[in-house]
């Protein structure tokens, strides 16, 4: 069969909503795009543990500490589901990790911002996880089987992340003046970066919407971003707080919220590695990996020792 025939069969499956599984034939570009997207998604989960890990030792109560630990554990687990999915496409874990640590692979830019106060934990849960949930729910219908299944699992676990964040802010919003101010400040700092999570505008568009055609993505950046804004603009009323956008306004004709212009210079700067915490994040990851090497080596040495003992006994 010619490549064209194979491609036609492949596109046919996609159009019929038949999932693509690891050993199915697929265009090389489809494989590469999925490897890149899934592994970067995995990197985002792992690096995302860092701004939150920052507050585990300083959570205001045992309950909040336990909740935060559980959330960070989940993020680690999500990273694993995604690495597993990416590995089915033929890239090894080592290579993916090396790409992250060398700076070659990207991760979601949102995690290059610092978590400065306790209220940041609430803001991150509500806004950052909220944005991630919209994207991930959409991706549950992605065409590559293992990625879709990993996302279903992730979505089930993710909803508590957003709820605990909002609830945490709710408590602050009903507290002392200092707590209310801390809550508003965290929202002010995390709002615009959360909008940037959805990526550049659709209008910077290309000739072939390959990702949409292959049903890797099911909704566009702007669609998701608008959905997010409409949702948050309503939820914030419950908190009695404001969003730092004086152009945010309900548009009765569009039936959506109008909003101000995102600072795209900041967006590209952070993507290119000049955000507030890019270097710290990678340094933390490299440090953890290097300092943990002895554990990995010891585990293998122990496993080999046990295996040899077993062979000797059998002999």
């Amino acid at each position: 069969m010619s490549i064209q025939d194979l491609e036609k069969i492949f596109q046919d499956k996609i159009d019929k909503e038949i999932k693509i599984e690891p050993r199915d034939w697929m265009p090389e570009a489809y494989r590469k795009t999925n490897i890149r997207q899934i592994s970067q998604h995995a990197h985002s989960e792992i690096v995302g543990m860092l701004p939150e890990g920052n507050w585990i030792s300083r959570a205001p109560s045992l309950k909040r500490k336990a909740i935060l630990i559980a959330k960070v554990q989940d993020e680690g687990g999500h990273g694993l589901y995604l690495y597993s999915s990416a590995e089915t496409l033929g890239m090894g874990r080592d290579e993916m990790i090396n790409d992250l640590h060398s700076g070659k692979a990207k991760y979601s830019s949102i995690f290059n911002y610092p978590s400065l106060t306790w209220a940041d934990m609430g803001a991150i849960g509500w806004l950052v996880d909220g944005a991630a949930i919209l994207n991930q729910v959409m991706l549950c219908r992605t065409s590559y089987g293992p990625y879709a299944r990993a996302l279903v699992r992730i979505c089930k676990e993710e909803s508590f992340h957003q709820r605990q964040g909002f609830e945490s802010l709710l408590v602050l919003s009903r507290g002392t003046n200092e707590q209310k101010a801390m809550c508003q400040d965290a929202i002010n700092r995390w709002w615009w970066p959360s909008l940037m999570m959805f990526g550049p505008k659709d209008s910077e568009s290309t000739n072939s919407d390959q990702s949409m055609k292959w049903k890797i993505k099911r909704k566009t950046n702007d669609e998701l971003r608008q959905q997010f804004i409409d949702m948050i603009a309503e939820q914030i009323k419950v908190l009695g707080m404001t969003l730092p956008d004086d152009k945010l306004k309900w548009n009765e004709e569009r039936k959506h919220y109008d909003f101000g212009e995102i600072n795209w210079d900041e967006f590209w700067n952070v993507v290119k590695g000049n955000g507030p915490c890019n270097k710290q994040r990678l340094a933390a990851r490299n440090k953890a990996h290097n300092e943990g090497a002895w554990v990995r080596d010891a585990a293998i040495a122990y496993a080999n020792k046990k295996a040899n003992l077993k062979n000797q006994e059998a002999a």
């Binding site: 599984e21 050993r23 199915d24 034939w25 795009t33 997207q37 970067q40 985002s44 989940d74 680690g76 687990g77 694993l80 589901y81 597993s84 590995e87 089915t88 874990r93 080592d94 090396n98 640590h101 060398s102 700076g103 070659k104 990207k106 979601s108 830019s109 299944r149 990993a150 699992r153 089930k156 676990e157 999570m197 959805f198 990526g199 550049p200 659709d202 910077e204 568009s205 290309t206 919407d209 990702s211 993505k217 950046n221 998701l224 290119k272 590695g273 890019n278 270097k279 990678l282 340094a283 490299n286 990996h289 290097n290 090497a293 990995r296 585990a299 293998i300 122990y302 496993a303 046990k306």
Partner: protein
């Protein structure tokens, strides 16, 4: 002028220079931990389902890690781990010829048989 502007999606950031000059992680040697496939029985009475994979040094570690990662919300009463290299799979390209014999044996299905109503439920 070639105006090729790319459409970007979540996570799909271009492979430009990221601008970081960090000390790359030292252990460049291959991660010796083999890959394991994980199967979970979530409840007595159900069968084990494939849930994903993980790397571990040996079977004991694989089971512990599988518990930590795939059963955080009590979704497991039993775990199987199998080194991925021991999974043998059929070739999807041969699916048609492999399963073809089953496709035209309609007499394997109960609806093929026409029985009078007096027989009752059968």
């Amino acid at each position: 002028m070639n105006n090729q502007i790319r459409k970007f999606y979540y996570g799909d950031i271009p492979e430009d220079n990221s601008g970081s000059n960090l000390e790359v992680a030292k252990s460049e040697k291959v991660h010796d931990w083999p890959l394991w496939e994980v199967f979970v029985r979530s409840k007595q009475g159900l069968d084990h389902k494939h849930v994903g994979s993980l790397h571990a040094a040996d079977a004991a570690m694989a089971i512990e890690n599988a518990r930590d990662v795939y059963t955080r919300r009590q979704e497991g009463v039993s775990l199987w781990v199998v080194e991925s290299k021991y999974i043998h799979a059929s070739n999807p390209d041969e699916a048609e010829s492999l399963y073809d014999p089953a496709n035209d044996k309609v007499y394997r299905h109960p609806a093929f048989y026409d029985l009078p109503d007096e027989v009752g439920h059968m």
